[in-house]
């Protein structure tokens, strides 16, 4: 298998007269964090929608581990190994942290039409879920309802849910949004150790985190990628500075 895990090929998406995605191509390779940045309205959410399966592109294709997934549903993509977190965290609030992660383990095992065995003492579900929580340093919160968690902890639960899927690629949509400096630093550390195992496509506003974490950065402006390179290249790219960094 090649080194490329996730590929976007010449994606196009229109909403009426607005071209939200213009010929975007992108590759996510094994062992890397590829950051996607861009000012508000650049079309990041539209692009994420097309990768995750909420939106269908007008043209172009999406491949995961060599398989075309352009026409697949959100659930089908997840089953093929695309884990994601949301900009606004999307968890079942009344349920405990462990329960939220367990549903991902259950999905991975592919047996949701089992009606008899109680999940609360099913070690084949509990053990991997606890392991994913351990990875995100959340074990002490396993039995807490999500509604009682802090914003930062919810972010970690989201990543734990995605991890429990044993994904081939992670799509993280602004995981640092709304976190304080401490939370950001904590999550940055966690993601840095994670990337060896799962390549991450990181959509993020926090520039410090992006420059620290990303191996490569793609800059999206008005629907197209205007620059691509490592942190130093992007930092010193005049187009990017003008369009995005604002000086």
């Amino acid at each position: 298998m090649s080194d490329v895990v996730l590929t976007l090929n010449h994606l196009q998406k229109h909403f009426g007269a607005l071209q939200a995605t213009r010929d975007v191509s992108l590759e996510l390779k094994r062992g890397e964090i590829h950051a996607l940045i861009g000012p508000n309205g650049a079309g990041k959410s539209t692009l994420i929608g097309q990768i995750a399966g909420n939106l269908k592109p007008d043209a172009g294709s999406v491949h995961l581990a060599g398989q075309e997934i352009t026409a697949l549903s959100v659930a089908q993509r997840a089953r093929l190994g695309l884990g994601r977190s949301f900009q606004v965290s999307s968890l079942a609030e009344p349920l405990s942290v462990l329960r939220n992660v367990m549903i991902a383990v259950q999905a991975l095992q592919g047996h949701s039409f089992r009606f008899w065995k109680p999940v609360h003492r099913d070690e084949s579900l509990l053990a991997p879920a606890r392991e994913a929580l351990e990875r995100m340093q959340l074990s002490h919160r396993a039995d807490t309802p999500v509604s009682e968690l802090s914003h930062g902890e919810r972010r970690q639960v989201e990543v734990a849910c995605a991890l429990a899927l044993k994904p081939r690629a992670l799509l993280l949509d602004e995981p640092m949004a709304g976190l304080g400096p401490e939370g950001t630093a904590h999550l940055t550390d966690l993601l840095e150790t994670l990337k060896q195992e799962v390549p991450i496509l990181l959509i993020e506003h926090d520039m410090d985190a992006v420059f620290r974490l990303a191996d490569r950065i793609s800059v999206l402006v008005a629907g197209s990628v205007i620059a691509r390179g490592d942190s130093a290249e992007i930092r010193h790219n005049p187009d990017v500075r003008e369009a995005y960094l604002g000086d």
Binding site: Q106, A107, S112, P145, E148, L165
Partner: protein
């Protein structure tokens, strides 16, 4: 934070004890079951057949509501058309008995199906046919959500209602009597106490199935489909088939209750299919506590007792039912069970 904590804990001041039989919730649940069993037992011993039959009525209405609660409470599918399955179960019992009574076939083409006065045959047919009907209705309705889902399930049930109303073979709007109660091997179903025990077993079985199923993987997926279907899909489980299967099981339970209800009354009519019936079941689920295992039982006891006691005093008893419902919705959002047994905590 403290406020959040107290809201999600089972009882203020007491630690949450899941699966404990003798905490407040366990005692309330045992109390409800004991009430439903011992009151008709006493009536039976004292020879008051009327009260035994009244308990059977409560039991079967509760069982129908257990089915609906699976859809509304556990699955988040607000069906306003469960009378379709309740009534279909009733008509299967009635039609089968009608043909068994005069030895005519239910249908002769494409294959000959004779009538039957065996409850076991009727229950099997009810499970199959209610399942198929719910599969068809659910497959279409579950493509919509919210108020559209409510309306489309209502529309399907009303179609069944008008169909039964205008089908003269089985009495049309006059309904159809069941002259002799359908039978079971070894027992005399005509005895009120025996029939109550059959109904009570049905209710217990429906509740046990619901309880066990909601603890399983399927239940976990259904719960997630209700609370956050985006999360479920992101995990890789499509919510639609999960909901559809739950909807079908829900209809089967309500249909079985309907088949027994027809036998209890010795009579079926399109009333069992009307939107009033769907509404009554929904009111019972809300009164008892949406998504609570014992909610339908508590709701059915309250509803039928109000209907019987207040209905005996004034024909405007539904005015008082409305007031109680208003109070429950305003001040006890988690129904009678939430009020008696405290909030449920998910662990």
């Amino acid at each position: 934070m403290d406020k959040l904590k107290s809201e999600t804990t089972a009882l203020p001041g007491l630690p949450a004890l899941p699966n404990a039989w003798f905490d407040r919730k366990g005692l309330v649940q045992i109390g409800l079951l004991a009430l439903l069993f011992l009151a008709p037992l006493a009536a039976h011993l004292l020879g008051h057949i009327y009260y035994v039959n009244l308990a059977s009525r409560i039991t079967l209405i509760a069982m129908a509501a257990v089915g609906l609660n699976l859809a509304i409470g556990y699955g988040g599918m607000v069906s306003f058309g469960h009378a379709a399955y309740f009534g279909l179960g009733g008509y299967i019992a009635g039609i089968s008995a009608y043909h068994a009574f005069d030895f005519s076939p239910v249908m002769s083409w494409p294959m000959a199906i004779p009538g039957s006065d065996s409850m076991l045959v009727i229950w099997l047919a009810t499970i199959l046919l209610c399942g198929l009907l719910a599969l068809a209705i659910g497959a279409i309705s579950l493509r919509t959500t919210g108020v559209y889902f409510i309306m489309i399930t209502l529309a399907f049930a009303q179609m069944m209602y008008y169909f039964a109303n205008s089908w003269p073979t089985y009495g049309g709007e006059d309904g159809l009597p069941i002259y002799i109660r359908n039978s079971l091997p070894l027992v005399d179903t005509g005895q009120p106490w025996t029939f109550f025990l059959i109904a009570f077993s049905g209710l217990l079985l429906a509740m046990a199935i619901t309880s066990r199923m909601m603890k399983s993987r399927f239940g976990a997926a259904l719960t997630m489909a209700r609370l956050n279907d985006t999360r479920l899909a992101t995990a890789g489980v499509s919510p639609y088939p999960i909901r559809l299967v739950a909807f079908v099981i829900s209809a089967m339970i309500t249909g079985l209750a309907g088949a027994l209800y027809a036998d209890l009354n010795g009579f079926i009519s399109p009333t069992m299919l009307s939107w009033h019936m769907s509404g009554e079941l929904m009111v019972i689920v809300i009164l008892g506590g949406v998504g609570r295992l014992y909610g339908p039982l508590a709701g059915a006891i309250l509803f039928v007792m109000m209907e019987t006691l207040l209905g005996g005093m004034t024909e405007y008893w539904k005015l008082f039912l409305g007031l109680v419902l208003l109070l429950v919705v305003l001040f006890a959002k988690h129904g009678v069970m939430g009020w008696l047994a405290g909030r449920e905590r998910h662990v």
